[in-house]
Symmetry: C2
Subunit: 554 residues, 2 copies
């Protein structure tokens, strides 16, 4: 049985799910023994611990010129000591060129089979990946497991499915038979999906697998060799994925260099040299807007970006003010606001928020919000695990700086103690009240656990501001609370025109930060927060070119 | 019955044809009485003649600031004297903005119905469009009818079909029901296909409808208002299409300004001002590479280009040398080489071409080619109608300049007499022999009836050169003759990697210049000849953004 035959059922289901957009997950979300076995967690943790201080030898990339690695755990604030083989850009490019031809000439079925198999192999290492993610990103255990393991694998499968579908969208051959009156012209035609060339996937420090696997699997599925350039601060989680891809490639007689890991160090970054190399045709990037915009402007490249944005919450009226405040407080606390989908600007009318029991004043809602943040962040049984740790020192510095902004500090940030990691770099959310006219302050992303409560004249102004922020500075998510259907449609239309998805009236265990594979498009591509979307058809069609040849029928 | 119901059968067939890529045409190609009625041709000619020297009053664009128009017939070398309403860029943009909201809020079905109906209306004016095309582009009667009428309408229908399919690719609503163990999270989700905004379609002087309708119908179908900016030398053919679109819009209570004609004059071109306007989000362009590349680099715009290229013919071996030469000679003569798909560089090995009767030497094949060009061009019953007239004086000058190139002039260009139009601007093909090392000469597009026979070491060098030209300078078409299956696959693969479709071994009444709607993708988007392709999925998906909203099920 071929790998394609083995995985065809799940690929077929994934394609159906892409179109139905109902719930689908191929990988179990809960890190429970029932799903992954009694010993998986402990074994993964041991494997991670054993890796510390050593060379990462799992890659099939021999002959490295040197070794390096500078990852540091936000939980221990110590170096992991893991080193990786380093290669010059020229070596990486030459390796990719050598690997390209057999890979592009393989069938879409073979590629889909190999790539899906690699996800099954990665699944056996989800716990190892989870600990690696914790100790590079600062994510809490649960998020580290889910986002870097099953959720990332679902996103990867989504890219495989979308690519497989698009590669089969047009026939490989057709007979074109044109009646000309007295005779027919008959041509045999054939169409080839031609991969664009070497693909570079540039990772970020906060979601090293979730934000990279879509580009990696999307490019590989469509026949392109991939060079994975992780953030120098978050390598190990994606290195494990790459190692498993290389294993399956080698077992199936493909060059493991179809997918290379290209590690660099903070003192000698190779990203620009890689991106600008004339043989690099595809670039995927997650990170800051300045670098993303530089990449987008490179001539002759097809570039997919997820950059930064200013995510808004429009609060008009609520069924239950405490539940709304609790939901939003969780969104701000979750991973200390270090998600690209975390809310930052909360627009609340100065006249208050409608509710079944009358108006909730601006101050009362602010108080509910702060109470909910505190009760979660300061709960020793929940706070450390929901907030995790702060990946980058600069983020904690920014939180401290925020308290000096010309607004009213409603809640100061403080460190919390993590019972497992005494040295964890932590910061609870800071909450600032601002007048709507202080646009220069809230018109940019303030990355981290920072919430700005902006006092607007009314909901119309809230909508205008949220739309303007998204159109001019980008937005990946938006939250809204309203019990009025007319207002709801006004928000839905205004934010749609700003290419920003809205989560309405969320309460309970679902948050605006979350985007589910096969159902939620992640980033729309239609505002400055990024030009690409996981996984719409363009996300894969832009990675190859349809070329048709033809010849008269003999 | 709604317009959608009326046209649903043809839209459904068009979507099927897009995927089958077998022969399909919704509009009859032959300008015969059987297809269009006994009186259609004469009436169309009368209508065209009556329009000369007058204001074009068919548009629903009142309140023009002034009138203008500078079209000149390549057949008479006299001004047509047709004038059009002129508007400032600001007026055009304000009109488009006003028309936008009702149009984007209409259903995909309503838009598909209205747009298909407009093609049916245009069909009644195909002869008028044909004469307008002859007397602006210089095309012969048959090409002017087919390219600007039925073939353009088929391409427009293709864009409607592709847009309609993509708009229905994902559901408008779905219920997302996620099992969480003890409970389920249920969200109502909805997806909106949000049009990007004002679309500007910039026409060219040689194919004023064929090259513009795909962008116009593609943008309108996906909900965007369109501003049609024709080439100042070729307005009338597309003005008639726009008038018919406006008629159907008005009849269905939409603002005719959903599709505006934006005429300018050579002395006061508005293209740059339009393209750079911040409210313009989509740009379609056909024309020279310099301007196309400038447009592609404009930040914040989605740009679709068809620019210039260097089209190659690789001649390795033939079944019948005379038939191959005749086919290629026709391709060069057709519309005096003014098609973007016309061949320019012919690579022929110095050792000659294989054939069933032995090698045909370079010189012998060159002689066959020249003989075939002459016998067609100098035949008074065929030449004037196949060659048509030269649209632009500069093209004729270029042909004359070509004779001074440092190569061997095998055939000089000369004027031919057109029995109907004594003043027609005509030029037969010039044929130059060049050594393969004269790359600086043949590495650029020499637009017009110019054929360069390039003497290569062997077919491998021919393939390398054809690939290099396409990759570095762009190519829209490629011809190849070989009877060897190994060589055939080598060419097919090399040119596929240069994103160039190859027509193999064409003889008889089918030419490498021709691209059929629903079957041949026109331009691939994968080399410097253009970044877009008629009509692949990206051609329509890039005109809108998928945005998903969600809310808990109550």
């Amino acid at each position: 049985m071929s790998l394609f035959q083995k995985h065809e059922p799940v690929i077929t289901k994934a394609i159906e799910a892409l179109h139905a957009r109902t719930f689908f997950a191929a990988f179990a979300e809960q890190p429970s023994p029932a799903n992954y076995g009694e010993t998986a967690d402990a074994e993964g943790q041991t494997k991670f611990n054993t890796q510390l201080g050593k060379k990462f030898e799992d890659l099939k990339q021999p002959k490295s010129e040197t070794w390096g690695g500078q990852e540091e755990s936000p939980y221990t604030q110590e170096l992991l000591g893991v080193s990786y083989p380093l290669f010059s850009v020229n070596t990486l490019i030459e390796n990719a060129k050598k690997a390209f031809t057999p890979w592009r000439k393989s069938s879409a079925q073979d590629r889909a089979g190999i790539l899906t198999e690699s996800l099954d192999r990665a699944k056996k290492r989800f716990f190892e990946i989870a600990y690696a993610t914790m100790h590079t990103t600062g994510q809490g255990y649960m998020m580290a497991f889910q986002a870097s393991g099953p959720h990332a694998a679902d996103r990867a499968l989504e890219a495989i499915a979308a690519g497989y579908e698009e590669l089969n969208r047009f026939p490989a051959q057709a007979k074109w038979d044109k009646p000309m009156g007295k005779f027919n012209i008959q041509l045999n035609k054939e169409w080839r999906a031609v991969p664009k060339g070497i693909s570079v996937v540039i990772g970020c420090s906060t979601f090293p697998t979730w934000n990279s696997v879509t580009g990696i699997y999307g490019s590989l599925m469509t026949g392109n060799p991939v060079i994975v350039k992780p953030h120098p601060g978050a390598i190990l989680p994606i290195a494990i994925f790459v190692a498993e891809i290389q294993n399956v490639l080698a077992e199936n007689n493909f060059d493991p260099n179809c997918c290379q890991l290209a590690v660099d160090t903070f003192d000698k970054m190779i990203t620009k040299e890689l991106a600008e190399h004339p043989d690099v045709k595809l670039i995927d990037f997650t990170g800051n807007s300045a670098f993303g915009s530089y990449l987008e402007a490179l001539p002759g490249k097809t570039v997919f970006t997820e950059k930064t944005g200013v995510n808004s919450v429009i609060i008009d009226s609520v069924e239950d003010g405490d539940k709304a405040a609790a939901n939003l407080a969780f969104s701000v606390n979750l991973y200390s606001g270090q998600m690209c989908t975390a809310p930052q600007n909360f627009y609340i009318p100065e006249t208050g928020i409608g509710s079944p029991t009358g108006k909730i004043s601006f101050d009362d809602f602010a108080q509910k919000f702060i109470t909910q943040i505190n009760s979660l962040a300061n709960n020793p049984k929940a706070g450390p695990y929901v907030l995790g740790a702060v990946q980058n020192k600069k983020t904690r510095d920014r939180v401290m700086e925020t308290e000096k902004l010309p607004g009213k500090v409603l809640l100061k940030s403080h460190a919390i103690e993590n019972p497992q990691f005494k040295n964890a770099r932590t910061a609870t959310p800071v909450v600032i009240e601002l007048e709507a006219n202080k646009k220069e302050i809230y018109s940019k992303e303030l990355f981290g656990p920072i919430a700005l409560l902006i006092k607007t004249k009314n909901t119309d102004q809230s909508i205008d501001l949220a739309q303007e922020m998204a159109q001019q500075h980008g937005a990946i998510s938006c939250g809204a609370y309203t019990t009025n259907q007319v207002v709801r449609e006004k928000i839905a239309d205004a934010m749609a025109m700003a290419a920003t998805p809205v989560s309405f009236n969320l309460t309970g265990a679902i948050y605006m930060n979350q985007n589910a594979a096969f159902s939620d498009f992640h980033v729309t591509g239609g505002n400055p927060s990024g030009n690409a979307s996981f996984t719409n058809p363009e996300y894969v069609t832009k990675r190859f070119t349809w070329v048709g040849h033809r010849e008269p029928v003999k």
